[in-house]
Symmetry: C2
Subunit: 378 residues, 2 copies
């Protein structure tokens, strides 16, 4: 096996694939990175118990030569050292050579690394997903679906199914829903999905976080396909495979109140900064609670009290106010997460009394929903 | 007590003073920050067992008003919350007010914080150093003296005196020396010191690191004065006080070899990058050893070997080579630290055999010296 590659191309691919490689794994060879060399290009593979990532570097693309002098073959390299080596090589051109004893030589400029490789035959085969049953969407939309929901998954293993995001496809409507049973985040978009039957799967939140990190924010297409226990995301040069969580996701639609007793419309950033300040005095408490109190003249007061440290209050003027007077307490962290996720200038908040869940939505947009359960303070 | 202050001024001072405040201290009030308000300005104070920092904000300076509506007084505020509060206040103007019950009100825009203060009378008085016996130097020179030596102090408490930097003033020559007994770093400069007798004190490395962080890289003057157990650094608006370590600093001049058997002159960055690459394969070993071997034609080979992972070799061409052939092994970390500290394009390295300490100096500059003890590898 032998090839000469452009370092920048290699660095980017290595960084992507590293996201699937863990130094703690029950299968020792999975601490390594598989490199597979074909005449048409190089494939790097990393894998752990949750996800597998394949990154492909074509030998030639758009008239630019990335890989030359190719002799086919494959090898597994210790992933602990490989990324730093690649990053710090002195020249743009890097030469790889593997001998029959699995000794790997990496040369760049006058630097020469001789590394012990492992037999690629011992590396587990990734499941080949059949991709007829698939749908496509723009990468940037997928990224915003992830960002607007994944933070709300549960971090507790007591109900494992809640550590995932429920991905549903129903008549061309794709929805992502996450809840830790104290709050819920969901987002819906329309996709072209003529060739695929409706589906509902639960993807680990961690997998989606890694996927979001790897995908560039472009309008290019990602192809998504699902089997019984795996979901596959495929872009031009990347394959991202995640396991699917077992079990039934709870029916969440009943949680969402249908009517509203108090509605405010408010500048997102203003509310966010005010709640951020109100949360400062109670840093160490996990459910750092703030209180919202409606006042006269479209004014809302945000306050927080920490007996030992002190008290903070701030008034903001809302865009509009309708319905009953209200005093309600909630986790400032949940509120901040929700307000950051809606990504719009103005939000509408619908309350149904101090003890009922309330809903935050962008103004004039029903596709995003953030729901928060209040906290009893008396 | 009462005042109105510009937030930017306050943020900068609070950040400086926080460097002396620790949440773990035997004296509870030292977890707080003292605020002292006089008609001419505000003084913030933080202190721990090693250092104390005072930052002064003049009420008016260069025609710009920083503090207004002043009613004199003083208070101690819990430092855990105060910096974040100041940073996140909504407006540029911030109003402070303290009532007779030590309740502190901080107002900015529509935000109001009510905090529990502590009596400033209970805050320890900082020692007042007599500053007749002092000398001055430019801040940027002091910073480079610190940066070029402090990394070489010992981190082991077995010989406490080596955790400090030996600061000596001798006939207008100021020198900083640090050693952990495996390497030594020293730097000398000439200062104007007519009014001060010669001195030799040992300042904790940690104190100097904090001082370096606080001081801006300017050519303005810092005044330095010493008593039996404290050293004081004073700039225009800052007082930095550190304790001095007890005990005698070892005589280090005998360690420095007077003759040289092998001398190379080499591009600093080239050598640094090569050693950095050679050190990649042995990350976890604390004394990650590399070997330098002289070859023919002004070539030097840098190599490293880690039986389990592999081997790396790289040749560099040196600017000049004089004297005996040499094979020598040393800690790559020490070498990288030393090369970074010299801050010049070319260095001269003097070796006196494989078992003797060697010296790294900038070309044509005797004021900086980095010494490293080799490692026996056979």
């Amino acid at each position: 096996m032998k090839f000469i590659i452009q370092r920048n191309q290699l660095i980017a691919s290595v960084q992507d694939v590293m996201k699937a490689i863990s130094s703690r794994t029950a299968i020792p060879i999975l601490t390594g990175m598989k490199i597979e060399v074909k005449q048409h290009g190089i494939t790097l593979t990393g894998s752990n118990s949750d996800i597998s990532i394949e990154s492909y570097i074509p030998a030639e693309e758009d008239g630019i030569v990335n890989v030359e002098n190719i002799e086919e073959g494959s090898i597994v390299l210790q992933a602990k050292y490989f990324p730093d080596i690649v990053k710090k090589l002195p020249e743009q051109t890097v030469e790889f050579e593997v001998d029959e004893n699995l000794k790997v030589t990496i040369r760049s400029g006058k630097a020469e690394f001789n590394l012990n490789g492992q037999d690629a035959e011992e590396y587990p085969h990734l499941p080949k997903l059949q991709t007829d049953d698939s749908f496509e969407m723009p990468i940037d939309i997928l990224k915003s679906l992830i960002k607007q929901t994944v933070f709300a998954v549960s971090t507790m293993e007591t109900r494992p199914i809640l550590t995932g995001v429920n991905v549903k496809l129903n008549n061309g409507q794709l929805s992502f829903t996450a809840t830790d049973s104290h709050r819920l985040a969901s987002r819906e978009v329309t996709v072209k999905a003529d060739n695929i039957s409706d589906l509902s799967v639960v993807i680990p939140g961690k997998s989606l976080n890694e996927l979001n990190k790897i995908l560039d924010d472009t309008e290019e297409t990602v192809e998504i396909s699902v089997t019984n226990n795996q979901i596959l995301f495929r872009t031009k040069h990347l394959i991202f495979l995640s396991r699917i969580l077992d079990g039934n996701y709870p029916e969440t639609s009943r949680l969402i109140p249908e009517q509203s007793k108090t509605t405010i419309q408010v500048n997102t950033k203003e509310l966010l900064n005010t709640i951020d300040r109100a949360s400062l005095l109670a840093k160490e408490e996990h459910n750092n609670v703030v209180r919202l109190t409606t006042m006269d003249n479209n004014v809302v007061e945000i306050s927080s009290n920490s007996p030992e440290v002190g008290r903070v209050t701030e008034e903001i003027t809302v865009q509009s106010f309708e319905g009953e007077e209200l005093k309600i307490s909630f986790s400032s962290k949940y509120m901040l997460d929700a307000l950051k996720a809606v990504e719009v200038d103005e939000v509408k908040i619908n309350f149904t009394g101090a003890m009922r869940p309330f809903i935050i939505r962008p103004l004039n947009d029903e596709s995003i929903l953030q729901l928060i359960l209040p906290v009893r303070t008396y």
